[in-house]
Amino acid sequence: MPHLADCRIMSNQEIAPEHYRLTLHAPQIAAESAAGQFCMIEVRPGYAPFLRRPMSFERIFNDGFSILYRVQGEGTRLMAMMSSGQVLNIQGPLGKPFPLNPTYQRHILVAGGIGIAPFPALGDAIVRTLGKTPEIVIAARTERLLLCEKDFRQMGCRVHFVTDDGSAGEKGLASDGLLRLNPGPDCVVYACGPMPMLKAVHAVCAARGAVCYASLEAEMACGDGVCLGCVVESNVEVEYERMVRVCKDGPIFDTRIIRWDAY
């Protein structure tokens, strides 16, 4: 059940250009949260910005959680100006977590840019709950934006880098990185990143017979399934079940459900 809680900022640090890690004291929310879920952050009192901002849990601790965010617009710019000791009102946990299934041999994580955000928590969960070691493709525009390498090395993961500009790892797209790992029916792929990347990753998985779960993004008002603003089109035949809510039915979707040709 989601909570509304005033949470103290433990730290808020720039970890790469325009990328921050924010840690919040939020024991109650943390206790009920799982990898893949998210929270809605009230950036500040007053009506600018008007809506809360959705952010995935990066890591979940006993007494709180961290998020990893990229400065995108007004809301995240204001977040970046905050400092420890200040308080943010948080709504969460929201949405469905990544499904964890022990039957798969390989767990491959594919992150594009800030899409890395929910994966430290997912990696933790795979290691701890399933006793497996995930592999990860970390893709970004350029070397400096390849985040969280250390976290995954510590879990013992194979880490594959891909950059748009070839400044580190393979030059190419996240889906190229995934292809290199030769996914097959024994794999479950978890993907997070921009829509075109997810579409490409889905295509690879579909071709190779791997199941793929993607964490989707959409502009949100309520985060809680109420406003019907955050929908994406699915393949469901039933007309009125075609629109699925990213916040409540997702944000994690089996990619076979999404009507990719709409994107």
Partner: protein, 309 residues
């Protein structure tokens, strides 16, 4: 001092004047996680249509300065699924229910009202004659809503009133020259109250892609940005109508709600702000009680339309 917040909205008894705006509270279940929704004067449900609707394609939502634009397009489960899957929860909670309905003709509205009454699906009907998101903006110039045509408002109201004995509220659009005309037409048609305002037509363009932000291009503007427009329309209508008003548009706090009540609203609905602050409706109930206490007013009805000119 004992304060009474009870109001009678065109025949609907409400234990306090606070409800929620249709489409911003779904069917109540989600927000019951944050507060006991039966404490509200009423719960207004998302517009119900005869058949389920998928609504418009995404994107359907964008934030704007102190507000938001939406083009949901009345996605809803349809009246039968509502009666079967959603109503039991509201009834179990003991909520007073305002059943908001949307149809394509007077007959459809009548049918919806009849079904709701027959199945105990609502304690009052709110007829949404003013949704801006059910037309294709590419073809519908300026948009043509039933609520923009007083004669149609009258006809639709008559049809609904004939079909049900429940109190009927008619929800109007701010996109008119003079909302008093629409309200008077509703009153003439037999409406028991008017609900104002629905969203203002608006749109946004992403300059980088040069494409409209909403897939339907045009959407409805809501939130505190439009509050001054709504207060003005409530005040205009209150001066000329005998039936009561359910006021809405940008209400976030008890102080905002008081503006509507002083302007002449018998009850108020909290809309978009509930997305930001799910407990806002409850806090407003408490805030109205505080206000009455502070001002030594025993009965909130004394404050309706009490603005000193």
């Amino acid at each position: 001092m004992s304060i009474s917040l009870r109001v009678n909205l065109g025949g609907l008894e409400m234990k306090n004047p606070v409800t929620v705006a249709s489409g911003t509270f779904a069917y109540g279940e989600e927000y019951d996680q944050y507060f006991d929704i039966s404490q509200l004067g009423a719960v207004t449900v998302k517009s119900l249509s005869l058949r389920p609707r998928a609504g418009n394609p995404p994107p359907r939502l964008v934030e704007t300065p102190a507000g938001m634009l939406n083009a949901i397009g009345l996605q809803n489960v349809g009246i039968e699924a509502y009666l079967k899957d959603k109503l039991p929860f509201l009834r179990k909670k003991g909520c007073t229910i305002i059943g908001n309905i949307y149809g394509h003709s007077p007959e459809e509205y009548a049918q919806l009202a009849q079904r709701l009454e027959a199945e105990g699906g609502a304690d009052a009907i709110e007829a949404n004659l003013s949704c801006p998101n059910v037309h294709d903006a590419r073809t519908a110039r300026g948009c043509s809503l039933v609520a923009q045509n007083p004669e149609l408002v009258r006809q639709y109201t008559v049809a609904i009133k004939t079909a049900t004995r429940l109190p009927v509220f008619v929800k109007l659009s701010p996109n008119v020259v003079d909302i008093v005309e629409s309200a008077v037409a509703a009153q003439e048609g037999g409406a028991d109250a008017v609900s104002l305002i629905n969203t203002l037509l608006g749109m946004g363009i992403n300059p980088e892609t040069r494409r409209p932000i909403l897939s339907n291009i045009v959407g409805g503007l809501s939130g505190p940005a439009i509050r001054p427009v709504a207060v003005k329309m409530v005040w205009d209508v209150a001066k000329h109508l005998k039936i009561p008003i359910l006021g809405m548009g940008g209400i976030c706090t008890a102080s905002d709600a008081m503006q509507f009540i002083l302007a002449g609203a018998r009850a108020v609905a909290v809309g978009s702000y509930v997305f930001r602050e799910p407990t806002a409706p409850m806090k407003i109930v408490q805030g109205l009680d505080d206000y009455c206490r502070r001002h030594g007013v025993a009965d909130i009805n004394q404050l309706v339309g009490a603005m000193a000119v």
